[in-house]
Symmetry: C2
Subunit: 219 residues, 2 copies
DNA sequence: TATTGTTTTAAACATACGTTTAAAACTAAC
DNA sequence: GTTAGTTTTAAACGTATGTTTAAAACAATA
């Protein structure tokens, strides 16, 4: 019962959506690559919107669940002596590891997931945004709450924007990592891999999170 | 002869592209909002691709020109005593001000600009990417070269990635700034505007640029 | 085997899109 | 006022899309 019609559709849709976006990917392209009849999408998922939500749910579900576990475990292990920089690095590392964990399990590249999130964020898919916030808003806010602890020197509004800058950095870096790797293959070391990128990203995010506020002179 | 057909099309296209993206915006929507006949787009711009390039050129041209002037003026005014953090902030501020200078007339220009780069990066949009690199690649590299001076404590490869993280932060923040503004309208101060966002972004970018490397203990 | 429910299939449907066409309207020079 | 060139207009074209339909194929049960 492996590689059923539903799974083959989801697999193909995942790749195509990540590569070309939701709107520019037709159901005919997906069903052809999945070697499945065109009507199968409407039969199993109701509509294209249903398919999009199913694709996102398949990895966002495990991702948030894994992240939730990691975060709650981290929260129960207090480390009061460490500094904000280290705490922030730890939180971002947990996020990075959760992403990699889910990507590994689904046998798909991390870039695919990142591009999906990018699409969900930047493309004006109204129904998707509502679905995501309704389904995963809690986990989202939980991560935000933990981050907030270690970014105390700013107002809620400032934190709100800072948080989205950091999210943007993460999503964009992962989305274009494959393309960028291809670009610098000939100019730089080929052996640099995703986990190295993630390690460096964590440091960047932690530093960016602690950037001074306007009118603030402390570093 | 102000508000000619061409200008009305460009104005409407700019707004619609920024709001709904390039693919999701139809020529019929644009021509209706511009109060212009449908065929006018093909007559004046040849095709939808031509319109997209015209829309982007209308602000990317002035933007790069303005930025080039600012950068070369900045380069001729040496300030050897200042630190990297200040120099980086200055460079990013120049970029932000150039963006704002061009976007003064229409606030949607920035969103279009960001979306364009986002697509050129994440998607394999052939004609768009080629057009941009061919037209504005030099200015791009010039800005990169100046930045490189004040990020000395890393290899070329590390700088390459750092640069793209920063670009990702900028692009993502600008791409979703409208949506995020809409989100936080009810939770935060409505009066917070783009220029405040940009000011904070500059600080974030400068700090992120100076984040420690892996294995580095200095801040 | 016969029957029931589920899944797959091929075809058609309705709609929206970018583009083209050819006539009409307009502009400016002679 | 006529003419030549440019712009605008309404209509149609061809294509691609998501969706629906109804028959066929399949699976499981009695």
């Amino acid at each position: 019962m492996t590689n059923s019609t539903i799974d083959r559709i989801l697999d193909a849709a995942e790749v195509e959506f990540a590569a070309h976006g939701f709107v520019e990917t037709s159901l005919r392209t997906i069903t052809t690559k999945a070697k499945v009849n065109l009507a199968a999408v409407n039969y199993h998922f109701g509509s294209k919107k249903g398919l999009i939500q199913a694709v996102t749910d398949r990895f966002l579900g495990p991702l948030t669940q894994h992240l939730q576990n990691q975060l709650s475990a981290y929260e129960k292990q207090p480390s009061l002596d460490s500094q904000n920089q280290q705490e922030l690095q730890a939180l971002f590392t947990l996020l990075a590891h959760s992403c990699q964990h889910v990507a590994q399990k689904n046998h798909h590249s991390l870039a695919v997931f990142a591009r999906l999130i990018n699409m969900a964020y930047s493309q004006s898919q109204g129904h998707l945004r509502k679905h995501l916030t309704h389904q995963y808003g809690a986990s989202f806010l939980y991560f935000m709450k933990l981050l907030r602890q270690y970014m105390p020197a700013m107002t809620n509004e400032q934190f709100f924007w800072r948080f989205h800058y950091l999210l943007g950095t993460l999503v964009f870096a992962l989305s274009s990592s494959e393309a960028l790797l291809a670009i610098c293959e000939r100019e730089y070391d080929e052996s640099r891999r995703i986990d190295q990128i993630m390690s460096d990203l964590v440091l960047v995010l932690a530093s960016a999170a602690q950037a001074p506020m306007i009118g603030d002179q402390s570093s």
